[in-house]
Subunit: 156 residues, 2 copies
């Protein structure tokens, strides 16, 4: 299968989500060695879970199938540029390449907040108001020492 | 209960995760009307899920308890500044305020990638290499039209 075929599968996922009213019009497919490992569409409304974006669900499913948190041998196809939450998940999963269809600006035009969340994370003016207050840094730092001294601490 | 008490609960969550080897040294608590709605620690290794950060798990649990994707009446306490994935989730959940202990720089000092993922999302030089390739935007845009024309499409 070629890139176009995988993107078609991602679109078909999105269509399933739209027709069932599961959430936004977004689909994603994860591919490894030319085969589909997982696919998903946005299920924020169905699951009543704000993190249930297509990319997050595809990543969680692929990690489950492969039984490991790192997907560094996988490629992601997604019908829309990932939001910062999903882009973060992609980075934590060590996915090295993604193909995307629509852009964050396209998503904004139909009413989604992707571009405003990018602005928030980039410390640019954003419609999203979030108060972030530092508290008890020194006692929280002790957790890091505890973790370092714990015999089998593992980085991921 | 006061802010200090909720942060103590978040630290206790983190400690449970460290002692059980579930993942990184991070804990989070979500509070509504002065009561704890959910709490979680990082379980990336236990669940083999790269998205299983403390904040993501706390948000998913609270959304499950309250049976809605929006947590705009909740406050988050987290032992470390949220990574971009978690900050995105916080924004999608419409959480208006968060208290954090350690910083992204503290997390980097013990080996975690938070700061590099911030750099990736801010289009600054980053150690994280991720190829992002645009593909079939116009056919993906058709999904947006389909969604808009769908009777019960709902923004979230």
């Amino acid at each position: 299968m070629a890139n176009d075929d995988f993107m078609r599968l991602a679109r078909e996922e999105a269509l399933r989500g739209i027709r069932n009213g599961h959430g936004g019009p977004f689909g994603a497919v994860l591919v490894r060695n030319g085969s589909v490992v997982s696919s998903a569409h946005n299920e924020v409304l169905r699951q009543k879970d704000p993190t249930a974006h297509a990319e997050i669900l595809a990543i969680r499913r692929a990690a489950g199938v492969l039984d490991r948190p790192h997907l560094d041998d996988c490629v992601l196809y997604t019908t829309c540029e990932p939001c910062p939450m999903c882009l973060g998940a992609i980075a934590w999963a060590r996915i090295p390449r993604l193909y995307f269809g629509c852009t964050r600006n396209d998503a904004e035009e139909i009413g989604f907040s992707d571009r405003q969340i990018y602005a928030l994370i980039r410390d640019e003016p954003s419609t999203i108001l979030l108060e972030r207050i530092s508290l008890e840094r020194s006692s929280c730092l002790q957790l890091f020492h505890e973790w370092r001294n714990h015999g089998d601490h593992i980085l991921y």
